[in-house]
């Protein structure tokens, strides 16, 4: 597998400004990010999905996400699935209120003191799901839990936004079109380290090792009509990658 940044869990809070429940989701998410599970989580910015946040979209494609919604409209869960990938977990505040017998929160800009235990309860539920997801094996290609077998949790890095999650996106220009390919660099690095090489002076796509395109397809949804374009783009990138390596090695 190509080397990608350590797994973390992305938290997408609805943050709805019109209702107290939205404020609760935002504060609970921040509590998890800053206090309860700071090394295991990042926040994913919901509006960035539409505004072109490639980092956020890429993160949610590769790593598990928890959508936290303040109401049954489930904006965070539905938008995450619409623009990136189905969240691993969807939490709706109403369910937490019902399960724990808590009063509905009050206040928009400032929650009432009586509402603060709701933030704590929701943060506790989110943290529990973070632990469960970090302990399980996760399929990046399928975007789902493989099983509940425990694996080593990531312990490095810092709390932050998914837009700086580090999943590389390469852009290759072919025939006047720019193709964005996720995780291309680590895929090429992996292939190179496995001993594969580009044929010098050969730009025919036949020289592209099939394993490279297999890996690219694993991490990118390539429309069938664009398959040839992507293959050519990867071929160009592979030629340049190998040439740069050879140059560095003298």
């Amino acid at each position: 597998m190509p080397h990608l940044p350590p797994r973390k869990v992305g938290i997408v809070a609805c943050s709805g400004e019109e209702m107290a429940e939205g404020t609760v989701t935002r504060l609970a998410a921040l509590k998890v990010l800053e206090e309860l599970r700071p090394t295991m989580t990042v926040t994913i910015c919901l509006p960035l999905f539409l505004a072109g946040g490639e980092g956020d979209r890429a993160f949610a494609r590769f790593y598990p996400t928890i959508a936290v919604d303040g109401c049954a409209r489930r904006c965070a869960a539905r938008a995450t699935e619409l623009y990136s990938h189905k969240p691993a977990v969807s939490i709706v505040l109403d369910d937490v209120l019902a399960e724990r017998g808590l009063q509905r929160p009050q206040g928009l800009r400032r929650l009432t003191p009586e509402s603060l235990p709701v933030v704590d309860a929701l943060a506790e539920v989110i943290a529990g799901e973070v632990d469960r997801l970090m302990a399980a094996r996760w399929s990046r290609s399928e975007g789902r839990l493989l099983d509940t077998e425990e694996s080593e949790p990531a312990t490095t890095g810092s709390t932050g936004c998914a837009c700086s999650s580090g999943i590389p996106i390469s852009r290759v220009r072919v025939n006047g079109r720019t193709v964005a390919i996720m995780a291309l660099e680590p895929i090429l690095e992996m292939a190179y380290n496995q001993g594969l090489r580009a044929s010098p002076n050969d730009h025919a796509t036949a020289s592209l090792p099939p394993a490279i395109m297999d890996a690219v397809r694993l991490y990118n949804a390539i429309p069938s009509e664009d398959d040839a374009l992507y293959t050519e783009a990867v071929q160009v990138a592979w030629q340049h990658f190998c040439a740069a390596k050879e140059q560095n090695h003298g």
């Binding site: 709805g16 400004e17 926040t43 509006p47 539409l50 505004a51 904006c75 800009r109």
Partner: protein
């Protein structure tokens, strides 16, 4: 009809919190009854009611926390027209003494900056209303 205010809604950075605080100050304190907040999350999802509110209202004012301008972009994607677009960074450049810090809770500088931004937005609300009345 109310003037719609759309803050950026980001939760991971201080500037997002400043836009939200400024929006609340406009709607609750400076221009109550004249303005309303439309949550960005509803626009992202394509909620028909939220989309209608940014399309049909008299004016839309966006408050963005960074250069990605999520609020402005999402209002455009929803079919609305942004009447005035504000960014925290521009406001901060005018008020360098108000350095914002904190996310869940803003520091004094952040609250002051939110108040300054809210005042600029309230001024824009007054100008828009004046233009519509004439």
């Amino acid at each position: 009809m109310s003037i719609v205010i759309v803050p950026c809604s980001g939760i991971g950075k201080t500037y997002g919190t400043v836009t939200r605080e400024a929006a609340y100050r406009v709607v609750e304190e400076l221009c109550p009854g004249e303005t309303e907040i439309v949550p960005l999350s509803l626009l992202v999802l394509g909620d028909p009611e939220a989309q209608a509110r940014v399309r049909n209202n008299t004016a839309v004012i966006t408050l963005d926390g960074c250069k990605l301008a999520c609020a402005t972009v999402n209002v455009g994607q929803a079919g609305g027209t942004v009447t005035r677009a504000f960014t925290v960074l521009d406001c901060y450049r005018r008020h360098k003494d108000m350095k914002p810090q904190g996310i869940a809770e803003l520091n004094a500088g952040g609250l002051a900056l939110a108040q300054a931004l809210a005042a600029e937005v309230a001024q824009a609300v007054a100008e828009i209303e004046k233009a519509e009345a004439s």
